[in-house]
Amino acid sequence: MHRYLTKRLLLSIPTIFGLTVLIFFTLRVLPGDVALTILGEDTQVDHQRLLEIRRELGLDQPIYVQYGQWMWSILRLDPGRSFGSDYPIAKRLAAAIPITFNLAVYALILTLIVAIPLGAVSAVHQDSWVDYASRAAALVGLSTPGFWVGIMVIMFLAFYVGWMPQLQLVSFFEDPWKNFTQLFWPALVIAIAQTAVITRMTRSTLLEVLREDYVRTARAKGLRERVVIVRHALKNAMLPVITLIGLEFAGLMNGAVITETVFAVPGLGSTLIQGINAKDFPLIQATVLFIGLIVVLVNLLVDLSYAWLDPRIKYR
């Protein structure tokens, strides 16, 4: 187990290195000039000043030097300061990460509450009206863009219910109920797409498992159907679903970029969007790298959870 863990951790090093290269150099080839953005909309374009700003930001250095400086700052666990605003990025991420984590947890809970029972019922009652309805709903959930659903939800709440979550986000530890009411709607929008994916996966894997010999044996032993489904079939069907949930959760931690923007949730996603709009390279790099690290970590945790779920799996 320890050997496996060490191997996986070592393997993640080239992955993360590749990620840093990709993030850094992709940003550098994008069109636009951060110095112009900093100079402002209503000012003259002073070319001397543009050069000065680029020099202040270190953008006049060779690109490999810039990359080296960034890597060094990352190794020191100091992602630096925002272009222009000079605001400490660590401080900004420290504020945004818990909010996105909070939102992701709500979205995941909502997803699991609906997706696994629905997928299971759909599989058990294959080709019944419940199954058809669940499959149709999943298809709609998958094919409806999240930003559109978000805007529709906002408009429905504001224009027909006359209510909208309070703008000043309250921390979960300060007031859990208020926190839940504020984040419920964006979490629901995120959960719609996630539910669709996990319902479909639960249904298809459970269908496979239900055809296995050991399920037939369990039924032949006279076990109650509920026990057969829940204790025997569903637990074994969960393995690929767990993988998917892990990846989806990692995906949620990338801030559900559009949903956070639509609902004005000041999490990682909206931070990333603002960084992109302002061409704030250090902020974008730090945010994307953090998200990448989360994906790597969650993948590892998902792999490790296999052993717990399926005792036949041994890590070497």
């Binding site: 636009g32 953005t37 909309e41 543009l50 805007i151 006359g162 909208m164 703008l167 004005a264 909206s270």
Partner: protein, 547 residues
């Protein structure tokens, strides 16, 4: 409904101001209630307290107003500072200047020495007293920034020779030549006075917070998400501000901002700057008829411009022919969400504007469009391009289709074809700055209502936004001359000649001056939208909540 109409209890600011003739204000179409405010409500009728919650738009670079020109910086930063003098908050024609940190000012008869006497007992937010040294330090920081500091508007102050403080309450600015517009420029809100003892120690100290003399003190900043400011109890304009504080929230989607407004999570959209789209304004009005929704003239223009170094656009006849083929009234209809008067290079209806009869003599402004088309074809024939040619249009993707359709429709009438080159905003701005375009269509905010605003930035040879690479020595001469004419009427005459030269030189065309939409709850009182964002109105020190 009537109770929501603003009472307009005008006591008028009878403060010292520059002499001026009464201008004809440009039309202001109100799509909601009539909200014109003649002056501030009498203090005894004002309800004090409350937090004003608004949106926060524009990119925030940081909060140091001298070093940048981004609207996100202005919208938050301006609340914490004052200028020496300021454009009146209630003058929608923006002709009146009122005292700021200077209680009075006077120009020498030859217009080259300006003496400002400071208000007594003004304190910065950290408790330090304002002195002439702070003002001298600030003005030098703007006009001639020290190493490590940038000044986004230093070019405006090239006339400044010396800045001195003979005593702690007096500042004297001497100019290299008689200056007709130094006072106008100083009144623009970007030129705020900063504390010498703070900035001298750390040139970037004001980027993350703000220590000024203004009506609100810095409380919290989460870049591009939230800005919070609290009432300055020691504000020098006693009794002001009326609000306890300001909270500005950033929205990535206008729909969310409008939803927050109509559900009363916000009291108004951006209080200090950019408004909302026309569609957004109509949505607000449709959802709540009681909401105050206005369309007000702003210092902003929609334009298209030529790169005059690229053939055949280097031929004046070709550019003039293209201008003749453009029908501005028709063009505006193509631009969604753009409304506002057709004008020239000065704010329509201002004291500097050309009389209508004179304007109609400019190339491209003549009322008979058919005659203009004939003349355009004739000019192209003279240039050897009777068969037409193809020109590339560069514009941002957000408004590309509108501009492309307008230009295709109108230039097609003189056989000019458009090749489309839509770009993302950042790339378009970069390419425009480097003059890598044939024809560029876009929009600009204008920093000042003074006639230097458009001509100085966009037409003078070598100026920072003259990306057309246009040079006309006679125009430059007129520009320099009007800077030195102290009598306003005489200056206006030179300005008129300058306008004619700029328009007929056909390097940049102004389609229209923009109106901007604003929306707020009726209980937000004494909020005024002035043509420029950079006036005392943006400091919100007269705004109060009637609830």
């Amino acid at each position: 409904m009537k109770r929501y109409l603003l009472v307009g209890a005008a006591i008028g600011l009878s403060l010292a101001a520059l002499s001026c003739q009464a201008p004809t204000p440009p039309p202001s179409e109100s799509i909601g209630a009539d909200t014109s405010v003649a002056g501030p409500t009498a203090p005894d009728k004002v309800k004090r307290g409350g937090i004003l919650r608004g949106t926060w738009s524009g990119t925030l670079a940081h909060l140091d107003l001298h070093q940048v020109g981004t609207l996100g910086t202005w919208n938050a930063g301006n609340l914490m500072y004052n200028g020496l003098i300021e454009w009146d908050a209630f003058d929608k024609t923006q002709q009146r200047i009122v005292p700021g940190l200077a209680k009075s000012w006077e120009a020498s008869p030859d217009g080259s020495r300006f003496t400002f006497r400071l208000q007594d007992g003004v304190k910065f937010h950290d408790g330090a007293s304002l002195t002439g040294d702070d003002v001298v330090f600030t003005l030098k920081r703007i006009a001639d920034p020290p190493r490590g500091t940038s000044s986004a508007r230093k070019d405006q102050f090239q006339m400044v020779d010396k800045i001195e403080s003979p005593d702690p309450q007096t500042v004297v600015v001497t100019t290299k030549f008689p200056s007709a517009n130094l006072v106008n420029l100083l009144a623009d809100g970007w030129h705020v006075i900063v504390p010498k003892h703070v900035v001298e120690r750390d040139a970037n100290a004001l980027k993350q917070g703000g220590i000024g003399t203004g009506p609100y003190t810095f409380k919290e900043l989460v870049p591009n998400q939230k800005f919070v400011a609290a009432r300055n109890p020691a504000y020098f304009r006693q009794g002001h501000p009326y609000l306890e504080g300001i909270e500005l929230y950033r929205f990535g989607e206008e729909t969310t901002a409008i939803a927050a407004l109509v559900t009363n999570q916000l009291d108004m959209v951006n209080p200090a700057g950019q408004g909302i789209s026309g569609q957004g304004a109509r949505d607000v009005k449709a959802r709540n008829a009681a909401m105050v929704v206005e369309s007000n003239p702003r210092l902003a223009i929609d334009i298209w411009r030529y790169n005059v170094t690229r053939p055949p656009l280097d031929d004046l006849r070709v550019r003039q022919a293209m201008n003749l083929a453009i029908n501005r009234e028709e063009y505006v209809k193509f631009l969604q969400d753009s409304e506002g008067p057709v004008g020239t290079v000065v704010f329509p209806g201002s004291v500097w504007d050309l009389p209508k009869a004179e304007q109609e003599k400019l190339i491209g402004y003549e009322p008979n469009y058919d005659q203009r088309l004939q003349r355009a074809k004739q000019l192209l024939a003279e240039a050897g391009l009777a068969g037409g040619f193809t020109v590339t249009l560069m514009a941002t993707t957000t408004n590309f289709e509108d501009n492309a359709q307008a230009l295709e429709a109108m230039l097609g009438r003189i056989n000019i074809k458009i090749k489309r080159d839509p770009l993302q905003q950042e790339e378009a701005r970069q390419r425009e700055a480097e003059s890598l375009f044939d024809v560029y269509a876009g929009g600009y905010g204008i920093a000042t209502i003074d006639p230097v605003g458009v001509v100085g930035d966009h037409f003078v040879c070598g100026s920072g936004r003259n990306t057309s690479k246009f040079c006309d020595p006679e125009l430059d001469r007129l520009y320099q001359e009007q800077l030195k004419v102290l009598d306003q009427k005489e200056r206006a005459k030179v300005v008129h000649e300058m306008i004619k030269r700029a328009i007929n030189g056909a390097s940049m065309n102004i389609i229209n001056w923009n109106n901007e939409y604003h929306a707020r709850w009726p209980y937000v009182r004494d909020f005024v939208v002035t043509p420029s964002r950079y006036t005392l109105a943006s400091k919100l020190e007269y705004v109060w909540l009637d609830k």
